[in-house]
Amino acid sequence: MSTTTTDLQDEIEKTGGHDHHDDHHHGPEPGLLRWVKTTNHKDIGTLYIWFAFAMLLIGGAMAMVIRAELFQPGLQLVEPQFFNQMTTLHGLIMVFGAIMPAFVGLANWQIPLMIGAKDMALPRMNNWSFWILPFAGTMLLSTLFMQGGGPAFGWTFYAPLSTTFAPDSTDFFIFAVHMLGFSSIMGAINVIATILNMRAPDMKLMDMPLFVWTWLITAFLLIAAMPVLAGAVTMMLTDRNFGTSFFDAAGGGDPVMFQHIFWFFGHPEVYIMILPAFGVVSQIIPTFARKPLFGYSSMVYATAAIALLSFIVWGHHMFLVGMPIAGQLYFMYATILISVPTGVKVFNWVTTMWRGSMTFETPMLWAVAFVILFTIGGFSGLMLGIAPADIQYHDTYFVVAHFHYVLVTGALFSIIAAVFYWLPMWCGRMYNEKLAQIHFWWAVISVNILFFPQHFLGLAGMPRRIPDYSLQFADFNMISSIGGFAFGLSFIMLTYIIVDCIRNGEPVKGERAWESARGLEWTQGVKAEYHSFEEAPSRASILAESSHISQEGHH
């Protein structure tokens, strides 16, 4: 009797307390409905990433319209009202349609794999939070075809331009933002629930890879910030349709209050878009430096410090709204303080590379470009944080250059790095390394031709969001546009490289794509199995696969 019980217990433990035969060897459901009904974290991750890529191309096409119009002085191609719709939707699509969903896609694919979980904690909600997105995105884009055109008030949609003075389609924009927020909050809840509850029993919080840590913190930012955005657009909705005056001075409201509410969301939002990028780079650099990540725990604390600070600095977007001097000084001090933990991260990456044994495969190239170019964006951010100097930078192309350095060469570059890094594990095939490196150099050179001259344009006095400009801005605008077209074209090549890898790529040689890669995600087969971690990984394998714990003590 006693032996039988023991056998049974062994059997239960071996199968992770789960009926072994239920899902073993089960692959995905055949047919297209698989993608509609799927609750598999890998499928949903794939959906998120392709959706983000489609949105990136649409938002990129809008950027091409903007750069084409600005190629030369004069109104060449589009009307000013349409130009404003392009700048507005370009921003909204890139932020809410491309960067955020791409990171959620990476989280879906990687977090369960990196913490030894079977799947996300809430798989059905996971499906729902993805499938809201295509509808929200379509609704947002459909405003372009409505009478009066789409939103034309900038992605920051300052009242009263977005309320009293906005086209009728604005209500659809508001609804789309609500849906996008819904999706983000559900995604964030899922990430938190997964990391806290589904982690392998032997994995402590401080054993988690940095990508998981940054996403955990990001998810809390999302839950705190997105409802504030929902509040802002709801107030807009009632101001527009139900006779309230939250933002209308004539009714006792305050247009500046809109900006406070918006940026209380908006500033954490920029860290929502960059913290997971920090995580990605912290995974890639140790792999190709063949050295554990330097200062793991300080990286975790720095991420948390950035996240906390991100909630108390929103006023630096508003130095010119007429804040009292005490407010301006406070926001200046708090803002420049963020450069301390951000600096710590950069120093840690550089020190991780120091005295490593580096190779520069494509993911490493993108990660190195990220560190350098994001840091340049950080420097211009520090300059912008100095309140009196901001007087001359505010709402000029200097700001445009700054946030494109942190979001394109920062967030987007890290996403591309992540895709090249993990794609061989996702599909079991290798991309064309030579083409990918050519693409890297093409993109990294063109993106700098695109955005670096915009610093000069801003300092020379060119305001942002204008469709036509004085002749003294002509040269740098033309250079910037040429860089823009080249950077835009590079995405055709990127599409080819990715599709070619998935369809025709050479099977990955060896046990994992990168000889020096560590992490539980590499233990689930050369091509990760459809269902992962039938058994939770052991303490030994967690330690052996850690990219931040030195191996010497464990072998």
């Binding site: 003075f165 200062g295 010119l320 590379m353 005295r355 000069f456 969001r465």
Partner: protein, 393 residues
């Protein structure tokens, strides 16, 4: 006027360097500059020092922080590039295994913090200086409108609107004229005229959406919020013409509402004020006089293109769904002029239609109503006189 000599020296050195860089760029970028219209343009790379104490303080601060950033960049990127060159696997580099040092982490937390404090001290000083808007010699109220500026001299009987110049508007249509334009999109019909050497206080507000008034050479940029008043100040040190633009997205023609300030010596400025007061008084008197249909139509056309065409279109077609058409409008073509006059005077609440009663005189409103009724594809026939407007006010 106390100045920080260190910053001055630094900025002089930097300006000299940037001039050299700028010349280098002109050669380097030659292939891009072959288009004739571009060859005239100057390559601006950096902020100007400007002509007020505040603008110079900001400039020095800007350069200081810029060079601190450059120094940090040289250190960090230098270490990184060194490492990428010498610590490569292909060079036989063997990876070390160090991965933690509390001392190092503390050092690169504390040292940047100290640098920040050193940056914050001069920044705070400049901040305090530019908030000192009291004890001004004169005050100008600046009101943003979609898409023009109104300047009111609160110490005199002078008030006027400042629109994008007709010349610039023609250059928008004509590429050849544009190629030769000296200040394309940066000219206005009525510039703001100010005296040099006087402390001028600016009050900013808006009639509709948020605008932002910027003159780079003064170091003044301040949002103009509807329903609220902000302030800023400048003491202009050199006579000249200074240009700027609206910097807060304010709708369709945000890119077409420049700021032009002409700074004059005190005597010339005083003469200008006297002249303006007389001119505005005469205009107000002329406005109330009854006019012929031809006079009304000629003036109406001018008023229309200056105030109405931006939204309702040069031909009166409007923009469907955003700005209603004048052509065929039931209000414009109604023989009863009550609604038409009312809309012109009081605007339409909750829409972009402004209350022109505050902006235009009786003669302008009468003539533009007459013009709308008998041009732009309408032929309603009614003539509206300034007395009709006066009665309706």
């Amino acid at each position: 006027m106390p100045k920080n000599t260190f910053y001055r020296q630094l900025s002089i050195a930097v300006v000299a360097m940037f001039k050299r860089v700028s010349n280098f760029h002109k050669v380097y970028l030659l292939p891009f500059l072959l288009t004739p219209q571009l060859a005239f343009a100057e390559l601006g790379l950096n902020l100007p020092e400007g002509v007020t104490s505040v603008s110079r303080d900001i400039y020095s601060l800007h350069m200081l922080i810029f060079w601190i950033c450059v120094a940090i960049a040289v250190l960090v990127f230098g270490a990184m590039i060194w490492s990428m060159i010498f610590h490569r696997k292909s060079r036989g580099a063997v990876a070390s295994n160090f991965h933690e040092s509390t001392k190092i982490e503390l050092a690169w937390t504390i040292i940047p913090f100290i640098i920040l404090v050193l940056m914050a001290i001069p920044a705070t000083k400049v901040m305090v200086a530019l908030e000192k808007t009291d004890e001004a010699d004169m005050t100008v109220k600046i009101t943003g409108y979609q898409w023009k500026w109104q300047y009111e001299y609160l110490d005199n009987d002078v008030s006027f609107f400042s629109n994008l110049s007709e010349k610039n508007r023609k250059e928008m249509e004509d590429p050849e004229a544009r190629a030769k334009a000296e200040n394309y999109l940066l000219e206005v019909d009525n510039p703001l005229v100010l005296p040099v050497g006087k402390k001028i206080r600016f009050l900013m507000t808006s009639n509709d959406v948020i605008h932002s008034w910027w003159v780079r050479d003064f170091g003044v940029k301040q949002d103009a919020n509807p329903g609220y008043i902000n302030d800023a100040w400048a003491t202009i040190e050199e006579p000249g013409t200074y240009r700027g633009q609206c910097t807060e997205l304010c709708g369709k023609d945000h890119g077409f509402m420049p700021v032009v300030v002409v700074a004059k010596p005190q005597a010339e400025y005083d003469a200008w004020v006297v002249e303006q007061e007389a001119k505005q008084k005469a205009e107000a008197e002329a406005a109330s006089q009854t006019k012929t249909e031809e006079e009304l139509m000629v003036q109406g056309q001018k008023v229309y293109s200056g105030n109405c065409a931006a939204c309702h279109g040069a031909t009166g077609a409007g923009v469907p769904g955003v700005f209603p058409a004048i052509t065929g409008s039931s209000i414009v073509n109604n023989p009863d002029t009550t609604d038409h006059i009312n809309i012109l005077l009081n605007g339409v609440a909750g829409s972009a239609m402004q209350a022109f009663g505050k902006q235009l005189n009786d003669g302008d409103i009468a003539s533009v109503i007459t013009y709308q009724r008998n041009a732009l594809g309408n032929s309603e026939g009614t003539i509206v006189q300034p007395t009709d407007i006066k009665a309706a006010r």
